[in-house]
């Protein structure tokens, strides 16, 4: 999926004057809402899976840093959505609603894992491998180095800051949507993201990554 800024609608950017990075173009949810209105919940959840499964999985795997657990949590998110979809009242978009469930579930999973005192896989998230390989080996090596450094720096951020930048810039959620999901004021989230850039730049520079 292209995540160019041009593909992101200004209407969902969450800022009034100007949007540097608006949200990703949300799927047209009207057909899904019509399925819900017709009480065809299974078809609605199938449509939600088509639209958002990958995004929810990506969100969970970045939070949990573990693919198997993320897949399990993603499955639980959609099962929970299926059970609750009849009660969806349309107060938010379906995507925001799903991310709200996902945010709770991956954090629950992480807490459960911490209780079990299981150690995180020190290198579980092969984000670099997820990127399409470049045909040029040297270029590919440099790209991997930069990606790896970025992921490492991202993980050094405080979780609320990392989560905010991930939700806004990677998942394309607006600050209003994030505010609804996280129960944090949009201004606070903007401040978190602003601090993230500062920290990330310094971290990358210390790793010898030129920007």
């Amino acid at each position: 999926m292209s995540r160019s800024a041009a593909a992101r609608p200004a209407a969902k950017c969450g800022c009034q004057k100007r949007c540097i990075v608006p949200s990703t173009l949300p799927t047209d949810e009207r057909p899904i809402l019509e399925l819900i209105a017709r009480r065809d919940y299974r078809a609605a959840i199938d449509a939600l899976i088509e639209a958002y499964f990958d995004q929810v999985y990506d969100f969970c795997v970045r939070g949990l840093r573990e693919r198997v657990a993320a897949q399990d949590v993603t499955q639980r998110v959609f099962l929970e959505a299926f059970r609750d979809i009849a009660r969806f009242r349309g107060d938010s978009s379906l995507r925001t609603w799903l991310f709200g469930i996902a945010d709770h579930r991956w954090k629950d999973e992480r807490k459960a894992r911490e209780r079990r005192e299981r150690r995180f896989d020190p290198n579980p998230i092969d984000v670099v491998n997820a990127v399409d390989p470049s045909p040029d080996p040297a270029e590919e090596t440099e790209r991997r180095r930069r990606s790896s450094a970025l992921e490492d720096c991202m993980q050094r951020l405080h979780e609320p800051i990392r989560e905010a930048i991930d939700m806004h810039y990677t998942q394309g959620l607006s600050y209003e949507d994030m505010s609804e999901i996280l129960s944090v004021k949009p201004g606070t989230l903007q401040r978190r993201v602003a601090r993230a850039w500062h920290s990330l730049r310094r971290c990358l520079e210390m790793k010898g990554i030129s920007l």
Binding site: I20, D58, S147, W197
Partner: protein, 229 residues
């Protein structure tokens, strides 16, 4: 809310970078910042934005759909079970109601005179005008009464003497809402059969007894007269 890195009072002054970055997130007019630093942040932003989505395993969707199928099936079974449970509960409630339901007993007072082969009978429903029968000494009186609140049957002679009671006398049979009193007329006089729904001890005369019963709020059926000669 104090952010990580803030001073406790949140008054840490922002440097140029932070002011610029915060304005950018808020969509506010951007304060000055060096061209190199702006370029660095834009590069960094693009790096973060273009992080490749981490794809789920190819089978993940199929596994989810299989789980949804199981969940849907379980939900349908659960719904069916709920209907079965509901129907069973309704049936059980109906059975309980049928078992517990007792029709209100038919209320009557039958005064019967047995005289050799002849049988005279007078049956009076409560509230109706009283009955009057003739009998002879030696005849038998049978008072058969039923009422949900029946407590006692009495027979008075000449509005003075209580000559029979049920329960209590040997000629008394029955119980609960249905009593049957049998006695032989051994003296001439005007006999009166009375049905009482309050347990009030009898006094000396019919009038005194009736007064005591009425003051106790008893409902009486006392309009059954038998003249014995």
């Amino acid at each position: 809310m104090t952010e990580p890195g803030d001073t406790p009072d949140g008054t840490e002054p922002l440097d140029d970078d932070e002011r610029w970055l915060q304005a950018r997130e808020e969509g506010s007019p951007l304060p000055p910042l060096s061209r190199e630093r702006v370029a660095a942040y834009e590069t960094l932003t693009e790096m973060v934005r273009s992080r490749a989505r981490i794809a789920p395993p190819p089978s993940a969707r199929d596994q989810l759909r299989a789980a949804l199928d199981r969940d849907e099936l379980a939900g349908r079974r659960h719904a069916r079970r709920q209907w079965v449970y509901a129907a069973a509960a309704v049936a059980a409630a109906a059975v309980i109601l049928i078992v517990m339901w007792r029709p209100a007993p038919e209320e009557f007072t039958v005064v019967r005179i047995e005289s050799g082969d002849a049988l005279r009978r007078g049956s009076i429903e409560r509230g109706m005008a009283g009955d009057y029968q003739m009998a002879a000494v030696g005849d038998r009186l049978v008072v058969d009464a039923r009422s949900s609140d029946l407590k006692e049957l009495r027979v008075y002679r000449d509005d003075r003497e209580l000559v029979a009671r049920c329960p209590g006398d040997p000629g008394c049979a029955g119980g609960g809402p249905h009593w049957k009193l049998t006695m032989r007329f051994d003296a001439p006089g005007l006999y009166r059969a009375v049905r009482v729904d309050k347990a009030v001890a009898p006094a000396t005369t019919y009038d005194a007894d009736m007064a005591a019963l009425q003051s106790a709020g008893a409902v009486l059926d006392d309009d059954h007269h038998i003249e014995v000669r």
